[in-house]
């Protein structure tokens, strides 16, 4: 009985931690990062006007101001819109983005007070498939949003979303097969654990796969170079044209949380998860042996979580840099890239990976 309660408490703590980090920290802070980084990259100063009692804190109060604005704005539903679907779609878009974190491990296994604690909410043995299954559910949110708004631009945006997300999911799924072949498992914790060896990092085993996965995942997230679904200059704001207030905020939050998910997955699959090169978990724990068994494990755990989120932050930075560097693709170029380049490349990647695995076996 006590075991169950302890397990429950541990799981709840992990869920709370993940929610705090993604929804509570990354999603709001990224709205600030997006403005500030774009400003700094373009030799501007960026958001710094919101102040409380004269303190500006580098414009961090803009987060608060944004939240206040979104809470107090009118929640507008256009005439002729499907009210139920219009209300439901932001939720359908946001929830999968958060749920994918259920299977993303942010640390290894540690012995705390004689209990094995694995830093993942749910250690599914089909973790990677779960991520893709849930992530593709978000498509419904975007498609329904455009369809239920009773607006031509929204409709066009959602059609583009549907075609783009489906095209890139194919390439993405096939890219991942190469990773699965290399690691021989779909369990994300195991994939992370294998990468304790620096030379088994995904970037060395699947270099082409990394670039393809990164491209496809940015396309899945519908950010610039691939932001045709919301193309401001063509479709007003695409599928969320008719959204305001907190519903609009939910679409935005979904986008930012997906950025975190992408960064976490890339870290997990290609960049050694929570490991530092040439510093194994056993070595790390033995370094802090003087703190006792639990103490050294706690230090190792904090270190690994810190390393993991540092890597995640770096890949978010890379995504931001891409977003503020590259111009938007034309629609046919997106389709060409998806079907004529990424798909054959990912198939070729599978074949080459298979041949190499056979040759080495």
């Amino acid at each position: 009985m006590t075991d169950i309660i302890v397990d429950l408490i541990i799981t709840l703590v992990k869920i709370g931690f993940i929610l705090a980090v993604t929804v509570g920290f990354f999603a709001p802070i990224l709205t600030w990062v997006e403005r500030k980084q774009s400003a700094i990259m373009q030799d501007r100063i960026g958001a710094n006007r919101a102040d409380i009692m004269g303190f500006r804190a580098l414009g961090l109060f803009h987060i608060l101001a944004d939240a206040l604005k979104m809470f107090t704005k009118e929640d507008f539903i256009p005439d002729g819109a499907d009210k139920v679907m219009h209300t439901l779609s932001p939720i359908i878009a946001l929830v999968p983005a958060i749920i994918t974190f259920a299977v993303v491990p942010f640390g290894g296994q540690y012995t705390l007070f004689g209990k094995e604690v694995s830093l993942v909410i749910s250690d599914l043995d089909v973790g990677l498939l779960f991520v893709f299954a849930i992530a593709s559910l978000a498509t419904y949110g975007y498609v329904i949003a455009g369809w239920s708004s009773n607006n031509n631009w929204s409709m066009l945006g959602s059609m583009r979303t549907a075609s783009q997300m489906i095209s890139y999911e194919v390439a993405m799924g096939l890219t991942i097969i190469g990773v699965l072949m290399v690691y021989g498992t779909m369990r994300l914790t195991e994939i992370g654990a294998i990468q304790e060896n620096f030379f088994r990092w995904g970037i060395f085993l699947q270099p082409v796969g990394f670039f393809m996965f990164f491209t496809a995942s940015i396309a899945e997230n519908k950010r610039i170079p691939f932001d045709n679904p919301e193309a401001e200059s063509e479709l007003v704001a695409g599928y969320f044209t008719e959204y305001s207030g907190l519903k609009f905020g939910m679409f935005f939050m979904a986008e930012f949380i997906e950025m975190v998910t992408i960064a976490a997955l890339i870290t997990l699959l290609f960049f050694g998860a929570w490991h530092v090169p040439f510093l194994g978990t056993a070595t790390l724990i033995s370094l802090f042996d003087f703190l006792g068994a639990t103490g050294s494990n706690i230090v190792a755990m904090l270190f690994h979580v810190g390393v993991f989120f540092a890597k995640v932050t770096f890949f978010i930075w890379v995504q931001m840099t891409i977003r503020w560097t590259l111009p938007r693709f034309r629609y046919d170029q997106i389709m060409n890239l998806g079907w004529k380049i990424l798909l054959p490349l990912s198939l070729a990647n599978i074949v080459v990976t298979g041949i190499i695995i056979l040759a080495l076996a």
């Binding site: 980084q37 700094i40 990259m41 373009q42 030799d43 501007r44 100063i45 710094n48 670039f211 840099t321 891409i322 503020w324 560097t325 590259l326």
Partner: protein, 194 residues
């Protein structure tokens, strides 16, 4: 000058593969990012500030406007404390927005005193379009466009500036007066004799 963008650029194989060019572009933008992010360190060490950011925090800092800038019109007051204006009404006539309103005052024939002066000189700033025609029309170097452009009121009536509010000494207007003289010389208008 018209020029045409060559839209059929022949790209090399290296450029067509796209990825290296993306990385080159990202190198450029992230170079700017890191230069700006850490650019304040030499500044803190006492060196000259070398961040390429040229944005100005507007209400706190302002840039110096160029001489040709046309802000709100002002009336020149000479060293004796008199307005240069002789209330001839040329600016009033030249004004395309009819925002100038002059009530002249005159001297009934006394020697060695001012002959004419504006009793009232009102400019409605909410109507003024800052065209500078009044400055060009003025034969007496009495009205000038200044670099003042920040004035806002809660009440429309306060937008009517009287001659005390418009007064600026010729000393402060020296550069602008010199500039207008140059411009009238260039356009071959009747250059002022003074």
């Amino acid at each position: 000058m018209a020029y045409y963008v060559d839209r059929n650029v022949k790209m090399t194989w290296w450029e067509k593969s796209y990825l290296p060019e993306i990385i080159r572009g990202m190198y450029i933008t992230s170079r700017h990012f890191f230069l700006n992010l850490f650019g304040f360190i030499p500044f803190l060490l006492g060196q000259k500030k070398e961040r390429p950011i040229f944005t100005v925090y507007y209400p706190e800092q302002t840039v110096k406007y160029p001489l040709a800038y046309r802000g709100r019109p002002v009336l020149a007051v000479n060293e004796k404390g008199n307005y240069n204006c002789v209330a001839c009404g040329l600016c009033e006539a030249a004004c395309p927005a009819y925002c100038i309103d002059i009530i002249p005052g005159s001297n009934p024939g006394k020697q060695n005193e001012l002959e004419r002066w504006p009793e009232e000189f009102t400019i409605d700033m909410s109507i003024c379009i800052f065209c500078g025609f009044c400055e060009e029309a003025c034969p007496e170097e009495a009205i000038f466009m200044s670099d003042m452009c920040e004035f806002n009121m809660l009440d429309r009536k306060q937008m009517k500036y009287n001659k005390e509010q418009l007064a600026v000494s010729t000393e402060d207007l020296k550069d602008r007066i010199e500039f207008t003289r140059q411009m009238s010389g260039k356009w071959n208008y009747s250059s002022s004799s003074r």
